[in-house]
């Protein structure tokens, strides 16, 4: 089986079953393990800020330089029905892609499209191994 970067598409149901703390732990451990995650439903802004803090605390400058994260802007909808605004029902966060910053680069983003590049040919920086692609395990039929 050829080596490569694993992309995991994570369903809303999978994330819904986790506490905010578990979500961040899950994302960070997967991304630090070299995986790119595509979340069907992204994190809340508060969770994203927490993820950024924990990412900074996890950077060691030689093996992990941080994350690349991109999702769509999901503002308070001022045109939403009155009752939803009163009860603070926000529309859920939208699809989000998260990966190791050394291997995932956003090349274009606007309000409707995110284009990213997965770098597979640069597993080393300055001669130091920053991430070794794991051997992909064969899945059972």
């Amino acid at each position: 089986m050829a080596d490569g970067i694993r992309i995991n598409l994570i369903s809303r149901e999978r994330m819904d079953g986790m506490s905010p703390d578990e979500k961040i732990h899950f994302i960070l451990s997967e991304v630090m393990g070299g995986k790119v995650l595509v979340l069907e439903e992204g994190l809340s802004p508060v969770e994203e800020a927490e993820l950024m803090q924990r990412t900074m605390a996890s950077i060691d400058h030689d093996t992990f330089i941080g994350i690349e994260i991109q999702g769509y802007y999901n503002p308070n909808d001022l045109r939403a029905p009155f009752l939803r605004r009163v009860f603070q029902r926000r529309t859920p966060p939208r699809m989000t892609v998260i990966g190791p910053a050394a291997h995932l680069k956003t090349i274009y983003k606007d309000g409707e499209v995110i284009q990213a590049l997965i770098l597979t040919d640069k597993p080393y920086i300055e001669g130091k191994e920053i991430w070794k692609p794991p051997a992909v395990q064969p899945t059972k039929a």
Partner: protein, 234 residues
């Protein structure tokens, strides 16, 4: 994006009222309990945080405001990202616009980022590896500190460089956090002195917020910013 707005832009002071898309929204959807209590008890100083990605001109903006109203600077500025790595607070700045005034503490925060690579300082800015590692280490601590400050501020100036893509996740995360807390936000479309830039790009990206185009470096349109601050944060 409306092409007419882009083509028609001229670098003249933009009427703040024209940019305030929230004018027509119901009162109760624009005011939080926190700001209502603040108004009721007239707390003396409010805390205004200056946030944004690295190199958006946050400290230049803080220096401009502090120089205009207190005759002092807040911190040093540099073209190298992450020059501000510790939050700086300038207390007791009072700005006036007409008969109204605003007393505040300015919180100049380190640039918020999701990645920090010390090699960038070595390769792009010619710093030594030791210096670069130290800068990167301090920058990561600065990001954590900046995010923690979000719990303590009463309003925010979100600085964006008009020559950069506004749809960064840092901008989106900061805006989302402030919207969730119902804190007042002013988006600063900074560096309009750069040739070929267009603040309408930022306005169109976040149309539900007030955008004020300025050049903190040259002082362009700062009067409009002060008017907006007094109206938004008072």
């Amino acid at each position: 994006m409306h092409r007419a707005e882009v083509v028609g832009y001229t670098p003249e002071p933009v009427a703040v009222r024209d940019l305030d898309e929230r004018e027509g929204t119901p009162f109760f959807s624009r005011i939080s309990v926190r700001s209502w209590l603040r108004r009721l008890f007239r707390r003396k100083n409010i805390k205004i945080g200056i946030y944004g990605p690295p190199n958006a001109g946050k400290t230049t903006l803080a220096n401009r405001i502090a120089m205009d109203w207190a005759g002092e600077v807040v911190g040093s500025v540099s073209d190298i990202p992450h020059e501000t790595r510790k939050t700086k607070v300038k207390r007791n700045i009072s700005i006036r616009y007409g008969k109204r005034s605003l007393s505040m503490d300015i919180i100049d925060t380190p640039g918020v980022a999701t990645k920090i690579d010390f090699h960038e300082f070595v390769d792009t800015y010619g710093m030594s590896e030791e210096e670069s590692r130290q800068r990167a280490r301090e920058a990561t601590e600065g990001v954590i500190e900046a995010i923690k400050w979000l719990d303590q501020i009463d309003g925010i100036l979100l600085a964006m460089d008009v020559s950069e893509d506004p749809f960064t996740q840092v901008n989106i995360t900061i805006l989302g956090n402030l919207e969730a807390r119902k804190l007042p936000i002013l988006i600063i479309a900074n560096k309009v002195d750069k040739p070929g830039t267009d603040p309408a790009v930022i306005k169109n990206a976040f149309p539900q917020h007030t955008t004020v185009p300025v050049s903190a470096l040259t002082g362009y349109n700062m009067e409009r910013l002060y008017e907006s601050m007094v109206r938004h944060f008072r």
